[in-house]
Amino acid sequence: MSELVGFIISGLVTGAIYALLAAGLVLAYSASGVLNFAHGATAYLSALVFFELNQGLGLPAVPAALCTVFGFAPALGWLLDRVMFRKLARLGETPQIVATIGLLVALPALGLWVVKLLTDAGVDLAKAENQYGLPGVGPSPAKHWKLMEGVGVDSDQLITWIVTAVVAVALWILMRHTPLGLRLRASVDSRTLTELRGVSADRLSGIAWMISAGLAGAVGVLAAPLLALSSVDYTLILFVSAAAAVLGRFKSVPIAFGGGLLLGVVQNLVAGYAPSWTEKITGFRTSVPFLLLFVGLLVLSRSKRSAGTAAVDAPPPDYLAGMSPLRRWAPWLAAGVFLAVSLYTWTTAFWIGLIAQGLAAALVFLSFTVVTGLGGMVSLAQATFVTASALTAGLLMSHGVSFFLALVAGTVVAALLGVVVALPALRLSGRMLALATLALAFLGDQVLFQMRWLRNGDSGWSIPRPVVGPVDLNDDRALALALLIIVAVVVVLIRNLENSASGRAMLAVRSAPPAAMASGVSVVRTKLALFGISAGIAGFGGVFWASFNTRITSTEFTAMNGLVWLAIVVAAGIRRPQFAVVAGLTFALFPHLMEEYVTETPQVPVILFGLAGLALAGNPEGWIVQMAEAGHALRARFAGTPAKSAGHEPEAPVARADVRETAPTPSADAGVLLRLRGVHAGYGGVDVLHGVDLDVRAGSILALLGANGAGKTTACAVAAGLLAPSAGRVELADTNGGFRDVTRLSAVRRARDGVLLAPEGRGIFPSLTIDENLAMWLRAPAERDRVYERFPGLAARRKVPAGSLSGGEQQQLAVAPLLVRPPKVLIADEPSLGLAPLVVEEIFRFVAELREMGVALLLVEEKASEILTVADTVAFMSVGRVSWCGPRDEVDEHRLTAAYLGMALDGGAVADEVPS
């Protein structure tokens, strides 16, 4: 019994560390949508800073810990948010995953480099290597108390518990009882709506990253006595704690917190009570946390989209689109020929070896082009396929099988393993899939490749290079040339695959699985095929890579290596196979070029490889495309043709002049609070609005009517600041009767200026309670009480999550706070959508009430009948223009029909005209 209690008590210490990590992971993820694989690296850096402050600079432990947790770590979080996470949040999942993985590699190297630089500069720091038994915040060595027979606790454990408990309470208070926590939770629910309430989601995510990094900092300080300064250990415990975050579905901080504690206890119980047969499976106990992570992901995480993640990442403009295939491929062909010639002319034996190694790596890297580039799925298990294939080949060759048969066998084994790894892909996608493949990769390292018959101990297997007739690949030069040819063939095959029916099926599954299924494409088969082919390529390349060393040991290509590979490939560009080849050569040659010509510091190439992922935040297509674009722009400048920037056409100067003329006539604008002038706007370079003018007046309702697709919602988005127009102006009346250009102001700023958008659908935060929803607009409790007086129905359920209300009640909840604190301008996009007629009536009563209060209202509706009962002015929109605008009395059936059918009216008299 005491044993069990002991396991639980001490398991809670490990659990506390997991809990703190998981909480930080979830907090940052939910606020920004970025899953930070480098969270463990942040903890490591914090441990390093704490160690150097304490041991190097001689600061007492407590101030050193406080500096780390409240100074360094949040500052790092803030900095990373500014330069990276904020931009990443707007990109697809692949660049997000890769950029943070790059950071995972770069941060520890950066830390060690800075320590070295400071030491060289004469700062008296302690050596960061070979440090064990580091002191924590408490006494060192830790004091130990015996609680009962076999159960004890030491001061470090006690401090860990106390800190964890304090953090738990503080987080709870922060999230549940402060305006900041309310906003954080609101932005998790709906980032856009939060912005529309005048709260900057960017600032919130910055704060979330600071808190998250602060938690990582606490882990660094608390875990220093346990993990010392081993960066890889911090990253490993982060991956383990991801299991706890999965338990909280990456949304709930409290569940993730509890999950972390539970995880520590379960791990201890497994270590203490696992049946003895498990000892026969080498690596079983090591892999328990990863088993838990994998199972947790499969059971708990269900993604909405079942396929890849590519819906957001649109391909970049193809500058070579119009060129003939020969012209397009000419540079690559030339590069290949140059490399081949180089091998036989000016290169030395050493560089030939590097090139051969780089090409072997390129062959493996091409596998990423298939699974991630084509399939939109991030696999972190590619190194596992490489090892599996090479070990298989080595095992067979030790039995006298020829190289080529062994190569085929290795490739097949890797492909089959790929299909097994793909099974979670049928359920998971994006970052969850990446985590699942990572868990499998660790299981491979810790269990599969620990099997003696497969790994052959530390000596591994010999993989002699093949000799075919006169071609002896034992020569590096011949191997390099053969690899160059093989790489070229695989590149061509992958290009053909992309253009084949299967390739199109893969693209279809990647971007829209239900649509793909509807067109008769088997999602299951396509995904399995993608992983199978990709793993096969990795395995095929792996045998060659191993043959470069003529030996394969099970530690040659580890899961951690796979992470670095991914960062390098994606940083170069994942969309085309040629980029993977460049990545492979970079991987082999770059560190040496650096060492030869720049610096001998081993950390610098690692930092650069890692930070290459960071460049993705600037351009998710990778540095090759970025350089090509820069080259294209440069050439365009020299050729004298203006480079087309993101499809924004220069606006017509004439239209602009018109607008300016009308602007300074106050008499015509009496009562106008918000106006749009000559607005052009659209999405992805395609204009939806072609010059829209609108005036919204105080105490007046402007109804914007039009058929589906006329541009009403776009006009609302421009008016509220959610979408920046490509041309034209949005102006807001200022206090002295003039107008202020607010075109470039964000939705947040406009909301603060009193322009509020009630977006299409329900403008509420479903996870927040009714009271919290109200608090997003009504900060003072007295104001909220006025809402409750008016709506007793809401008052009775103020602690109920808004998501559980009926559609009508939700709309009521969205409008209610506005009646208490009316905005200057309210833009409501289809407030009646999907509501019962009685509720619609009520909503329009509120609208009329707001008008009485002097609010300027812009109402968008598709159905005209109800709105015409309340509107003062009506504007019809069709195909991106205001086709008619005038007082409600002048609207008749003829006009309505014409507007909805997009016909010209009255000789087109009123198009673009602003009525007074």
């Binding site: 490990t14 038994g133 060595p141 993990l227 250990d233 328990v288 030395t348 053969a482 040819i485 040659e556």
Partner: protein, 412 residues
């Protein structure tokens, strides 16, 4: 494609010849003159686990410096170009070794102190480049060009396993281990299991009973909590604690396990083979955790007053350019690897070529006080089997069993 490959084939035969020539050229040019002998090493100076063997480089540099001060090897100076850092990353090890051989044209790769040298063994053999390091890996066993400075420390089934560790423990226990029980703890990896198997066979011949032998400690991250292992070990000897606990793990794991065992009231002998490092005494908690622990050392302990140890310390300071007051095993690995190279090269005679070096190494025996009796070819498959036991008492290590060589027993 076929013609290109044929072209590759034609050319390959010429380059192959050229590669074959390289070592000969090294030898030829060397014998023609009294040029310095170029030597470079590969050492994991950095690693993701925060462990560094950087001082191996200093140890080798010191030993070569001493040789040069004495006039070199048969009149030829050693040009030690330092050690490449491989970051304990296999790909970087490969590149580092290739750079030394193909770009720097070293005569031999000394010292080698990295766990990831395995992938480069074949390359070194093909390029006829001798290498010497710490023989804890198969790359130093039964290799034509690779040697461990204290022999091959990886026992092979059918071969033998040395009994120095149990022998030294027996000496500590008063010369008789009969009836003493020992618990063996290793990590949950294949290598850990293999180590367990080795010591399960090495301990009984000295009289020990292995009452506990498990490879269940997670192989990646060190456990933050040791209670499950401690409770098992404490009752493994028929419900009682064993007399000796042998940890075949690295420092961070040893610190955790020993602290937990002591707290649980363990009063027997704790022993490991990695924690002989004065740097560990700087932290109060590691100093406490390792207090009284018997540490098995395969080199002559630094506390020894042999004149060779005096030279070692003298030249380390000289090589560093500032006084060295803390010595560690990495320095010893570098020093002893360099010393073995120098001894073999000296015996090879005036015309040092790869061939003469290999011929000298093929049948070599001498006694070097810091390592013991060095014998090849025996050392290509067996450990020299020497060691000492030191114990941490207060602020310093003391020798509890002097440096001695022990016999081997068959390994099944």
């Amino acid at each position: 494609m076929v013609p290109v490959l044929l072209l590759a084939g034609c050319n390959s035969s010429t380059t192959k010849k050229k590669t074959d020539q390289t070592p000969d050229q090294k030898g030829a040019s060397a014998s023609a003159s009294k040029d310095p002998i170029k030597i470079g090493g590969v050492v994991s100076k950095t690693s993701a686990s925060g462990y560094s063997k950087a001082d191996t480089d200093l140890g080798a540099k010191a030993r070569f410096m001493m040789a040069n001060d004495a006039g070199g090897v048969n009149g030829r100076k050693i040009d030690y170009i330092g050690s490449e850092d491989d970051g304990q990353d296999p790909a970087r090890t490969t590149t580092a070794v290739r750079k030394l051989v193909q770009q720097d044209h070293v005569f031999a790769v000394v010292p080698v102190n990295t766990t990831t040298i395995g992938g480069s063994a074949d390359f070194l053999k093909d390029n006829k480049t001798p290498y010497i390091g710490w023989g804890t890996l198969p790359a130093f066993c039964n290799q034509e060009y690779g040697m461990g400075y204290n022999g091959c420390l990886v026992p092979m089934p059918g071969g033998s396993v040395n009994t120095s560790w149990p022998g030294l423990l027996t000496a500590i226990l008063g010369g008789d281990a009969k009836g003493k029980s020992v618990a063996l703890v290793t990590q949950d990896t294949d290598a850990g299991k293999f180590g367990l198997r080795t010591y399960q066979q090495a301990f009984p011949p000295s009289g020990f009973t292995v009452s506990y032998g498990k490879s269940t400690v997670p192989g990646t991250t060190v456990p933050t909590d040791w209670s499950p292992w401690v409770s098992e070990i404490m009752s493994s000897n028929n419900g009682k604690a064993p007399d000796v606990v042998v940890s075949i793990m690295q420092t961070p794991a040893n610190i955790g396990l020993f602290t937990a065992l002591k707290r649980a009231g363990f009063t027997g002998v704790l022993t490991d083979a990695t924690d002989y490092d004065p740097a560990l005494l700087k932290q109060a908690s590691s100093k406490e955790a390792l207090q009284d622990v018997q540490i098995f050392v395969q080199n002559m302990p630094f506390e020894s007053d042999l004149p060779e140890m005096g030279k070692f310390k003298e030249y380390l300071s000289k090589a560093k350019g500032s006084p060295v007051t803390e010595w560690n095993q990495s320095m010893m690995v570098g020093w002893n690897s360099a010393d073995l190279f120098l001894a073999i090269a000296a015996k090879a005679g005036d015309n040092l070529t790869v061939e003469s070096f290999q011929a000298s190494a093929a049948n070599f025996s001498d006694t070097y006080p810091l390592v013991g009796d060095r014998k090849f070819p025996v050392g290509r498959k067996d450990s020299f089997g020497c060691g000492a036991m030191v114990q941490l008492k207060g602020d310093k290590y003391t020798i509890t069993a002097p440096y001695k060589c022990y016999p081997t027993v068959p390994f099944k």
